[in-house]
């Protein structure tokens, strides 16, 4: 996993999955349709202004609420390369890893919108290049690192056919 570098879009605490993608749009298998409505009720301009490689930055409890994986898919399809948040809701956290959207839990970041941010997933390091500040992140469990390394749980299981016990230890 390489270093991801992009422009930060910063939002606050408790961004729930209804605001990431409203329930009325989730009943589809068209990922681009999801992406066209991403964060619509939070920032109606977001879907238009996001560029491939951009980084979403948030506060506490990002992705609270519904189990809808469409929330992670919408962000990934819209071009978000990695989500940096002070903390994540648990189902969203699993979903993002499972579909190959990297996440870093960075409890004390002070990143601002428009800053150029680099994320080193291997080292768990988040660098706000504009502000010249570095933040360390919470370590991800080995099983999640293994899934993310394969690009998600689909690829992981296509490759291994089953969960690998060794990685859980």
């Amino acid at each position: 996993m390489s270093i991801l570098r992009g422009i930060a879009h910063v939002y606050g605490d408790n961004i729930d999955t209804d605001r990431i993608i409203p329930g009325k749009y989730t009943k589809t298998l068209d990922d681009h349709l999801l992406a066209s409505h991403v964060l619509e009720d939070l920032d109606p301009e977001f879907a238009r202004k996001v560029r491939p490689g951009d980084i979403l930055v948030a506060g506490h409890n990002f992705g609270a609420g519904s189990s809808r994986e469409q929330a992670a898919i919408a962000l990934k399809t819209a071009g978000i390369s990695v989500v940096v948040a002070r903390s994540f809701a648990r189902i969203f956290y699993r979903n993002a890893i499972n579909i190959g959207l990297p996440l870093v839990e960075t409890p004390d970041h002070a990143i601002e919108t428009g800053h150029l941010v680099a994320v080193d997933l291997e080292q768990g390091m988040v660098i706000d290049e504009t502000a010249g500040r570095r933040y360390s992140s919470t370590r991800m469990p080995p099983v999640m690192v293994a899934i993310l390394r394969e690009g998600g749980l689909v690829n992981y299981l296509r490759r291994y056919g089953d969960y690998n016990d060794v990685e859980a230890r």
Binding site: N14, D18, G65, E69, A72, G152, L157
Partner: protein, 410 residues
């Protein structure tokens, strides 16, 4: 060292003693997905190379989130689920059978001590009968279909002790709203919640499901309700935490003086006592969802509305939890009393709770609802305001046209 309920259940499945924060791969006992999550799970399962389910008798699909379909796109997704269920030989609950969590309990798909995965965030509802039931997304569920396993981080646990007994007219919903307000929307994040204490020992299974259900609004991974006093249609061994189990936190509340509670816009943990919001005008009222649409909920509403008419300008929509609940409420006269009062009945299922079909509020409207989430836009319109309350409060408010304590009308 003593074990929490979560540690006990996972230890049995892992075949060795486990403690909080360990990560294990465990066999599961059942898996459920809905029309909101199954289509993506089917796509993921196929992409994984899946040809057969690990155990078709333990896999249930439920069409409840947008049922019946409001448009051709959703109807085709339902068709995809029907085809998949037929090919795989798994269980399918089609339009009108009811809400997924209700069906899992009613039809005996989950039992005490099970590890149960649901591709729905309110899966902890089944913790009311002592299962380790947790919500996952579609790809996690597809992996469980394929392997019969999942990976889990064993959660730390929070114990909530509820002392005293609830006043008449105060329900499990008021209790859990109060707790969500106190614990906060991420206060139990990644954790298991154990509800215990005198106040819950007399609660019905339905009320216990209400309690476990909204642990999701505290961010919990799963929830357990103490099994003392719980009767199930089969014999079972109650699962209890050891007296020396280790908890992340223990909260104790005396609940005998608790009044009806309301979560005000736009967060489920934005909870106030009813006096703070009594008199707020409402336009739409809804009784439904996996939180509160069982027989006792409809009966509580009927007790308020029997022999009366809804306030002018208020619409009351009711979606029973299941076909079984609906038929029981028909037989005992509950439906009659509610229909006479002016209520509108829709298909057993999730209904307006998820904002996909049927009963989407208009701009500037106030909704009082027995559901579990009032996030902005949750019910399909970000310009509406949603208040969460018990079925009795919803009914009393529909009767008066303003948010009303049921004690004022009974």
């Amino acid at each position: 060292m003593g074990q929490t309920i979560a540690e006990k259940i996972i230890s049995r499945h892992a075949g060795r003693p486990v403690v909080a924060n360990e990560i294990v791969i465990v066999p599961i006992d059942g898996a459920m997905a809905t029309d909101a999550t199954a289509p993506l799970a089917i796509r993921a399962f196929r992409s994984m190379g899946g040809a057969r389910l690990w155990n078709p008798n333990r896999v249930a699909l439920v069409i409840d989130h947008a049922a019946p379909a409001p448009n051709e796109q959703i109807s085709n997704l339902h068709g995809l689920m029907r085809t998949f269920a037929r090919e795989m030989g798994c269980i399918l609950y089609d339009v009108g059978e009811g809400i997924c969590h209700q069906l899992m309990v009613e039809h005996d798909h989950v039992r005490p001590g099970d590890i149960f995965l649901g591709a729905d965030s309110h899966t902890p509802t089944c913790g009311a009968l002592g299962a380790f039931a947790t919500g996952v997304g579609s790809t996690d569920l597809a992996a469980a279909w394929l392997t019969g396993k999942t990976w889990l981080k064993i959660p730390t646990s929070i114990k909530i002790v509820l002392e005293g007994s609830l006043r008449p007219g105060v329900s499990a919903k008021d209790l859990v709203l109060f707790l969500v307000g106190r614990i906060g929307s991420d206060g139990a994040r990644y954790q298991a919640v154990e509800f215990t204490g005198a106040a819950i020992r007399s609660l019905s299974l339905a009320s216990r499901m209400t309690l476990a259900n909204m642990a999701a609004e505290m961010g919990a991974k799963t929830a357990f309700v103490e099994m003392t006093g719980l009767t199930l249609p089969y014999s079972y061994e109650p699962i209890q935490a050891d007296p020396d189990a280790v908890y992340h936190a223990v909260f104790s509340f005396a609940v005998s003086d608790l009044r009806p509670q309301v979560a005000i816009p736009h967060a489920p943990d934005n909870v106030v006592s009813i006096d703070t919001v009594a008199g707020t005008p409402i336009h739409m009222a809804f009784i439904g969802s996996c939180t509160n649409s069982r027989l006792e909920d409809l009966q509580a509403a009927a007790a308020v509305l029997r022999g009366h008419k809804l306030a002018p300008g208020v619409r009351l929509i009711i979606a029973p939890a299941s076909r079984q609940v609906f038929t029981m409420a028909v037989r005992d006269g509950t439906i009659d009393a509610l229909a006479e009062a002016g209520a509108t009945f829709i298909t057993p299922g999730c209904g307006p709770c998820v904002g996909t079909h049927q009963g989407i509020p208009g701009d500037g409207e106030h909704v009082i609802t027995s559901t579990n989430r009032n996030f902005r836009g949750r019910m399909g319109n970000p310009r509406a305001s949603v208040y969460l309350a018990s079925p009795a409060v919803v009914a009393a408010s529909a009767l008066r046209g303003v948010i009303t304590d049921p004690a004022d009308v009974l």
